[in-house]
Symmetry: C2
Subunit: 354 residues, 2 copies
C-alpha cells in the first residue's frame, strides 16, 4: 500500500495554520504527499511542513487529482462548491464548515465518540462539528456510553477567536484602547471609552463591546429568537451522539477570552450517575484531562487549555435536586479540538482504512 | 408621626458608598435623621448626604439609640454580632451579609417578590439576598406568580466587584499588566505575563487570572464539590420564592467584567408559557427592563446595566425540547439591586409601615 496523499484546503487561514502545526507534531501517519491549497491570493506562498518547504497551490479541480483525503478549512460557501468537486476527483473530503453538517448523507464525526460513522459517507464527504459543540463532545460521549444521555442544558463562555482572526484582533484592540485608563473608565462607560479611542462599533465582529463585558449572542438569528450557534449545539449534539430526541437547551455567550471555549453543562441521564463514576470515566479517556479538586482550587479555566489537544473537565457535581444528573464545566481549545485537531483526527482514522 | 431615623452601618465601604448615592437620588422617604456608622478607623470622616454634611460615628451599642431602621453592609461576622445589638436597642436591622439569610426567624426579602415577609421578623432582623440570587429574582418572581416555577438551571457570569473592592482593583491591575503587550501575549500565557508584571497569584482574590479568562469558582468549598455561591443561589431562591422543593442546579463562574452579574436561566414551570406572555409580564414590571430584539442586535449586556436600578432581561426563548420552559438572559448591577438598592428598598417598605 502506498502512503496516502493528503491535501489541506485553506492552508493559510487561522485554522489552517493550526492544522500545519498539528501535522508537524503528530507523526502517526506518514503521508505520501502533503498538498497545500488556498485561494489565488495565497498561491505560491512557501510553508514548511514536516521539514519540507511546500508551495501553496491555487484551488482548482486539478489540485485534487491524486489526493486521497482533502481537509477543508474555508468558509461555508467555498466548501459547498469545492468539497463535492474534491469528492468527484476521488478524494474523501473532511469539511470544517457548516455546509454539510446536517446533511443526512454526510456523517458528523468526533472520532472518540462515533468513529464508526466515518465509513458511512455516500457523498464522499465527512463533516467536522461546530467548535462549541465539539468542546463538550468527548466528555458527553463518554458519559452517554455508560449512563444514556436524555437531557442537556448548556451555557457557553465562548472565546473571541471563534469569530476568526478579526475576533482576536478586535479583543486585543479593545484591551489596548482601555490601557492606562482602566481606573478612569467607569465600568459602564466601556462603549464610550472605545469610541473615544477610535474603535467604532460598526467595525467589530461582535454586536457589543467585548472587553469588560459578555455578549449573549453568537452566529445569526434563527426562528423564535434562537441563535444559529445555539441550534448547532442542539442539532449537532443529537446527530453525533445518535440521539435524535435528545432534549437540549443552549445559551451561547461570548466572553473576553482569546481562545478556548468553556461550557457549563447540566446533563440528565437514564441511569444513576455518581461523581466517582464520572471521574473514573473521564480519567480513562485519552482525550480528556480531569482537573477537579476545588479544595486545592483546581478546576479548568480557558487560559490553561490554550494549545492543548485534550478537553479539560472539572467541577463535576451530582445535582442536588435532579435524579441521574451531573453538573460540570468543560474547556476545549476551539482552534484545536474545536476545529483543526478533530479534522486531522478524522484524517488519521481514514488513513488507517485506506 | 415623626419621620423615622435610619442608620447605615458600613457607610464608608464599597456598597455603603453606593447606598449613599442611592439615598441622594431617591427622595421618597424624608428620613428624620440619617446616621452614618463605621469602624473606629473611619469614624470622624465627613460625608455629604442629601445636602447635609454628616460625621461618621463609631459602631457601638449607643450608636443605635433612637434608630428605627439600621442597614448593615459589613462582613458576616460583624453583622452576626451587631445586628442583634441594633435590634435590642429597638432598631429593625436590614442585613446585607450572609449571616442570617437562612435563619428561619429572619425573612429574606426582595420587595417586588415577597414584600409581605417584611412583617414577619421575630428577631427584628430582615436579610438581603446574595447578589447573584438577587439578579434574577425580579424576573423569576414575576414569572412564578403567573406560571408556577418548578425547576431552575442557571449559569452565572459574575463580575469582579462581587469580590469587593479588591476584586475590582485586581481586574484593573491585570488589564494594566497586559497593556501594550496584548498582541505579544499568546492567549495561553496570561499567568506568565501577570507574574512577569509583578502581579503575584497569591495576592489575588481570585483563584486564577481573571483577565482573558473565566474562573468557574466563587465563594468557599461546601460538601460534594459545590461552592457556597452555588448553594446560596439554590437555597435563597427557594426561600424568597416560597418554594421549599424548587429544583435548582447552579454553576457560578467569575468573568472579567467589573460590575453587573449576568445569568443564563433555564426555568421550567407548571403551566404553559410563551415568549409573548413572558414579554408582557416583564414589560409590566417597574423594576425590569426588557431588551429583547436580536434582529436589531438588542439584548442585555452587563456593561449596559452598570449603575442601573432595574434588572435587564432578554434572549427570551421557549425551550424547543422542554415543555413549559423558558430560557433567558438577565443582567443586574450587583452593587445596586444586588446589594445596596434592595436593602434600601426594604427600608422604604418598612418606612411606610412605621
Amino acid at each position: 500500500m502506498t502512503a496516502p496523499v493528503i491535501a489541506l484546503v485553506g492552508a493559510t487561514g487561522a485554522v489552517g495554520t493550526v492544522m500545519i502545526d498539528i501535522m508537524n507534531t503528530r507523526s502517526s501517519v506518514p503521508w505520501g504527499e502533503i498538498r497545500l491549497i488556498a485561494s489565488a491570493r495565497s498561491a505560491g506562498k512557501k510553508i514548511n511542513v514536516r521539514g519540507q518547504e511546500l508551495t501553496v497551490v491555487e484551488l482548482s479541480p486539478e489540485a485534487f487529482d491524486g489526493v486521497d483525503i482533502a481537509m477543508f478549512d474555508v468558509p461555508d460557501e467555498v466548501s459547498k462548491e469545492w468539497a463535492p468537486i474534491a469528492a468527484e476527483r476521488g478524494a474523501i473530503a473532511i469539511d470544517n464548515s457548516g455546509a454539510f453538517r446536517m446533511d443526512a448523507d454526510v456523517p458528523l464525526v468526533v472520532p472518540e465518540v462515533n468513529a464508526d460513522q466515518i465509513d458511512n459517507r455516500p457523498r464522499g464527504i465527512i463533516s467536522n462539528p461546530n467548535c462549541t459543540t465539539l468542546s463538550m463532545m468527548a466528555s458527553l460521549g463518554a458519559l452517554h456510553r455508560e449512563f444514556e444521555l436524555k437531557e442537556l442544558v448548556v451555557s457557553s463562555y465562548q472565546a473571541a477567536s471563534g469569530a476568526g482572526q478579526s475576533g482576536i484582533d478586535r479583543l486585543y484592540a479593545e484591551i489596548s484602547a482601555l490601557a492606562g485608563k482602566e481606573a478612569g473608565v467607569a465600568a459602564g462607560d466601556v462603549a464610550e471609552a472605545l469610541a473615544a479611542a477610535g474603535l467604532s462599533a460598526e467595525d467589530s465582529p461582535f454586536p457589543a463591546p467585548l472587553v469588560l463585558n459578555v455578549v449573549p449572542w453568537a452566529g445569526s438569528l434563527k426562528d423564535d429568537g434562537w441563535s444559529s450557534e445555539e441550534l448547532k449545539v442542539r442539532n449537532e449534539a443529537r446527530k453525533i451522539l445518535g440521539i435524535p430526541d435528545l432534549k437540549v437547551s443552549a445559551t451561547c455567550v461570548r466572553v473576553p477570552v482569546v481562545t478556548t471555549h468553556s461550557l457549563a453543562v447540566h446533563a440528565v441521564f437514564a441511569r444513576e450517575v455518581t461523581v466517582e463514576a464520572a471521574h473514573k470515566i473521564f480519567s480513562e479517556q485519552p482525550t480528556i484531562v480531569l482537573v477537579d479538586d476545588p479544595a486545592a482550587q483546581k478546576f479548568p479555566t480557558p487560559a490553561d487549555v490554550v494549545g492543548e489537544d485534550p478537553t479539560y473537565v472539572g467541577r463535576v457535581r451530582q445535582a442536588l435536586d435532579f435524579p441521574n444528573t451531573l453538573d460540570f464545566f468543560v474547556c476545549g481549545d476551539n482552534l484545536r479540538k474545536g476545529a483543526a485537531l478533530n479534522t486531522y483526527e478524522v484524517a488519521e482514522e481514514l488513513a488507517k482504512r485506506l
